[in-house]
Symmetry: C2
Subunit: 437 residues, 2 copies
């Protein structure tokens, strides 16, 4: 049995087969929805009491007060000191590159003055306070702490509050070290929907935040969806995806490993290769079959490739770009000669990796751009997590006495047309010679 | 009975009273949720057929095909020609000012090259296709067509598709004229959840879009919430709000009328005045009582002011700013001498109107900034509708051969730390001397 399916863009059923391959069941589990709603309601109404109860029940952590669940900075710093030197240096170098890239995203307030003295503009301010959810257990990725916290701090957010569950009281030192490096301000050993509720509504001990970001399990995702509106949230991520456009000039082993690097995340992750060269697809297939048994996470990779992967023969690179724009992948590798010419034809992708040296894994950790990216075709309308997610804008409107004469007349006409007479009168009061009412 | 309640910031219960005043019931109606889910499912699965059925049932418009429901451009142009000259000029002037302001928001792609030749950046692209919902009947505001469509066209969106219900087949010529002026590309006489479904999923006749914007009734709002993820959506707006900070130097009638201009929208709209001068609050109160009976929409204004309005005596302008930041109002008027000094202390507001000549109504129609603004305290974390809502970003990562040597080592360290060996191997393949595996 082949480890990954082969498709041809010229197959009569290709469009339907591709659509089926891309689809996945995102429907929400009713029991999770109900449980989450109950937890949120309890935290909203009884605050710290509910938070302590749920933390004891779900994480088996007993605390006399929520204050005891705060992880003090001294503990993060000790965790940082305890890291092997190479790992600490790697984390610090990654953080520095991420910070430096994100500095380019910082927006500035602007305004302009019209001939009559009217000033218009936009004032940019950071959010006051942000909550960062970090999963516990095996899915606790220090890189994710860097990618979520650094843009917030670059934006100027005063207080970044990390929450992370500590099942049986076990705290993850490398996550704490990453928090120290990323500039997180406070951290609490709480998780699940109860932590999302505490951040959204606030409790006697934990301050309410303005936005909650970071990955989490199905309960966390459901809770974030429910508190959206009370606070901002980042996108709810679907399974991770890589799409590779190759012309056959990159070593086949490299491409096979790039497909694996996505597939190893979980069984639902999606790895697809587009190439106009059939012999090269054979080489990649051979590399997959040869390398797969050597991988520690071979079982996950095998399932992911078998169910959601594909090697697709396309007619040419232009067709590959058209398919890529339709898929709007989270990660797009363009592993070709002259990758810029190919990239010029790409309209929709979370991150574009150009050239054979730009493996997705470099972007995941340390190239600088964010690894929190739009999945499930949402790159058609959304963007990587960035500084702009932690800044917001206020319109500035300072109408001069002269400006009010011109604008008041226009506004009054339109307001009368819409049947909003108070709007019209409010504009006309500012005229030097208001019409008789 | 007083027409609007009076509060003092020094009252012991002030914080709780204010919180209660700001609260409103945003819970979703279960029957609307169920009906919307059914409509969306039908449109997703039977497309044009369902769309025709619902349009006949809800709008009493019978059509042989969805193609017949398209409103041809010739009809918009005829509507534009038929407008009274003054109204047409006012619409065109407003559109020109809105366009000119939004041009300032257009983001440009950027990149930088590092010493080792690695290129990092962000590519900005417009959305391909956007749906614009315009309510039918009395709430059909041409200004809303301008405010939603113009930023999309400035962003470079190829196709803006307007949908608007036409109960009993009645089409609103001023809305069609506004669509012509704003540069809308196509328009269909459909509405409700069925129109949202058609835009999100596409039908045989109507192309699927990437984002849906524009106001609508409870069914439209519920449908937008449900299709979010398949397409992008704008914020679901709550009741409109104005907060005015006054020092008592603006004529009291002007301020009373500014409060009315918000209150006349609907009974749930909220109008609040903060002022440190009690005698001035008395003057505004007197103006309200005197002017209210003269307003065509007096009943709506009366209910809104009585239930959700307030005149609040504050200790000084600094306290007014602190309260304003807590409320994070949709519209904030700073009607004081030296309004810039006050505005410097404001962190959270959708739009800030500075000085006595900057009435909110000027911003609603023609000052230039968008009138689609964050409501219900969401200005803490979100922004006015803008060109940035119709552009999205893709990260650009082009690692040089030399860059891969540095980055590959960092990434591999971190990947091993996270137990993701394929990530590490993918990075290490790019090293000149990969470690032995």
């Amino acid at each position: 049995m082949s480890s990954i399916q082969r498709l041809r863009s010229t197959d009569p059923n290709f469009a339907a087969t591709l659509r089926k391959l891309l689809a996945f069941d995102a429907s929400q589990d009713e029991s999770i929805e109900r449980a989450t709603a109950d937890i949120l309601k309890a935290v909203e109404h009884t605050g710290d009491t509910a938070l302590l109860e749920y933390t004891q029940r779900f994480d088996r952590v007993q605390a006399g007060s929520v204050a005891e669940l705060e992880i003090p900075k001294s503990e993060w710093l000790a965790a940082l000191e305890s890291l092997p030197a190479e790992q600490r240096t790697a984390l610090e170098q990654a953080a520095e590159r991420v910070r430096s890239y994100h500095e380019h995203q910082k927006a500035q307030s602007w305004s302009y003055t019209e001939a009559d003295g009217t000033v218009l503009g936009q004032k940019i301010t950071p959010l006051d306070r942000v909550g960062l959810y970090v999963p516990g257990g095996k899915a606790a990725y220090p890189s994710s702490v860097l990618m979520n916290a650094i843009p917030a701090k670059v934006a100027g957010v005063e207080e970044v509050i990390m929450v992370t569950p500590t099942p049986n009281g076990v705290r993850n030192p490398i996550v704490l070290a990453a928090a120290a490096i990323a500039g997180v301000d406070r951290a609490w050993a709480i998780g699940g929907a109860q932590a999302v509720g505490a951040l959204a509504y606030g409790t006697a001990t934990i301050n309410a935040v303005d936005k909650i970001v970071g990955p989490g399990n199905a309960y966390v995702a459901a809770a974030k969806r429910r508190v959206f509106g009370t606070v901002g949230i980042d996108m709810i991520a679907g399974p991770s995806e890589i799409l590779i456009i190759a012309d056959g000039t990159t070593p086949a082993d490299w491409i096979a490993m790039d497909l694996f690097s996505q597939a190893e995340h979980d069984e639902l992750a999606q790895s697809i290769l587009l190439c106009p060269n059939e012999a090269y697809l054979d080489q990649v297939q051979e590399a997959i079959d040869r390398l797969l048994p050597t991988m520690p996470r071979a079982d996950i990779i095998r399932t992911s490739l078998a169910n959601r992967g594909a090697l697709i023969l396309v007619q040419d690179l232009d067709e590959a770009c058209a398919i890529a724009n339709d898929i709007a992948p989270e990660h797009l590798e363009i592993s070709t000669d002259n990758p810029n010419a190919v990239a010029d034809k790409i309209r929709h992708a979370g991150a574009i990796f150009l050239g054979r040296y730009s493996s997705e894994s470099l972007g995941d950790y340390c190239a600088g751009p964010n690894h929190v990216l739009p999945t499930s075709r949402t790159a058609r309308f959304s963007s990587p997590l960035g500084v702009y997610d932690f800044q917001k804008r206020s319109s500035i409107i300072q109408v001069s006495h002269n400006g009010a004469q011109t604008l008041g007349t226009i506004a009054a006409h339109l307001a009368y047309g819409e049947g909003l007479q108070a709007h019209a009168a409010s504009a006309e009061y500012r005229l030097d010679t208001p019409p008789k009412r």
